[in-house]
């Protein structure tokens, strides 16, 4: 991309081209809302039906690690926003640094998640693989944990894809692929990253915070 080469011929100007890219990402994110929405709706139905058992099951999640992870993911959103900012300013080195930082913070989130999963395994709280539960409502506790594992692992899968995307972007940015005129891939990947953050913002209170009081 050099000079006017940043503008594809089907667009009037760079602003229109940029808006088209962002809008396309928003449309994709709406399909992602549909994707996660089904799981949230299923969770809502069973939580309404078995609220007592869900509260009891929520006690078995690690609130401290969950809270730390929330802060970690919010931090990664900040570094992502700063990466986009530096792309807008055309600062190549800072863009690469913030993309790498975002990847590292995202990887820390995944690491903490793996720790949590390992604890669940050791506590015999993994439905279908290793599950033994002595308290009341074992079946309904198992149902809550199925929602927990499916929702958080799909979230983690999205985050893993996001880290891969940022890796490609960091490589391209380092090669000088982006400029203040052309940074749409950084912007749209940022939208995707922030969306993952929003999913967690809802997962955290619904999974971790329902049994504390």
């Amino acid at each position: 991309m050099e000079g006017n080469g940043a503008l594809a011929e089907q667009f009037d100007d760079l602003a229109q081209q940029h808006e088209a890219a962002s809008l396309g990402m928003w449309v994709f994110l709406v399909t992602e809302i549909l994707f996660f929405g089904g799981l949230f709706a299923g969770y809502t139905v069973y939580r309404a039906a078995y609220s007592e058992a869900f509260r009891e099951a929520s006690h078995h999640l690690d609130l401290l690690l969950g809270s730390i992870n929330t802060a970690v993911l919010i931090t990664s959103s900040l570094t992502m926003a700063l990466a986009v900012h530096n792309a807008q300013e055309g600062r190549r080195r800072a863009l690469v640094v913030f993309l790498l930082l975002t990847m590292i913070v995202g990887a820390v989130f995944l690491g903490i998640k793996v720790t949590e999963y390992t604890h669940k395994y050791e506590q015999d709280l993994v439905p279908g693989i290793r599950f033994a539960y002595g308290g009341p409502h074992p079946g309904q506790v198992q149902l809550f944990l199925i929602f927990y594992f499916i929702m958080t692992s799909l979230h983690a899968l999205h985050l893993t894809i996001g880290i891969g995307l940022l890796g490609v972007l960091a490589f391209l940015a380092w090669r000088g692929h982006f400029s203040a005129d052309y940074y749409a891939p950084v912007e749209t990947s940022g939208l995707y990253w922030h969306f993952i953050d929003i999913v967690w913002i809802f997962l955290f209170p619904l999974l971790y915070l329902i049994g504390t009081h």
Binding site: L14, A15, H18, E19, S22, L23, W26, V27, L29, V30, I33, L34, G37, G38, F40, A41, T44, V45, A48, A49, L63, S67, T70, A71, I74, T75, S77, L78, M80, A81, L82, H85, Q88, E89, A180, D181, E187, G190, L191, H194, F195, D197, I198, I201, F202, F204, P205, L206, L209, I210, T212, H213
Partner: protein, 99 residues
């Protein structure tokens, strides 16, 4: 005209607000407020999501078409949840057998 460049200070303030709201939601979760617990937890989550969408995702500075697309996603989700619950929560209101 490209998208306006937002000052990093805005991002720092939003970041601080998001962390504060996270502490708040963990804090109020320890108080027994009955049904208010769920309302507060979801209310705070919605505030956090709005902060992320408006500032980190630049929606505040985007064209109205982006607002419509983002709004369509939220409205669809509301339809899914409201119509699902209007079924499940009202079962048993009428004495019909077989449920």
């Amino acid at each position: 005209m490209m998208q306006p460049i937002v000052s990093p200070h805005v991002y720092y303030w939003v970041y601080g607000a998001l962390l504060a709201l996270t502490l708040l939601t963990v804090g109020v979760a320890f108080l027994d407020l009955g049904p208010l617990n769920l309302i507060l937890a979801l209310g705070i989550a919605i505030c956090k999501a709005l902060l992320v969408m408006l500032f980190f995702m630049h929606l505040r500075y985007s064209s109205h078409v982006s607002w419509i697309v983002a709004g369509a996603g939220v409205i669809w989700l509301a339809h899914l949840l409201i119509f699902t619950l209007s079924d499940y929560l009202t079962r048993g209101w009428l004495p019909v057998g077989g449920w």
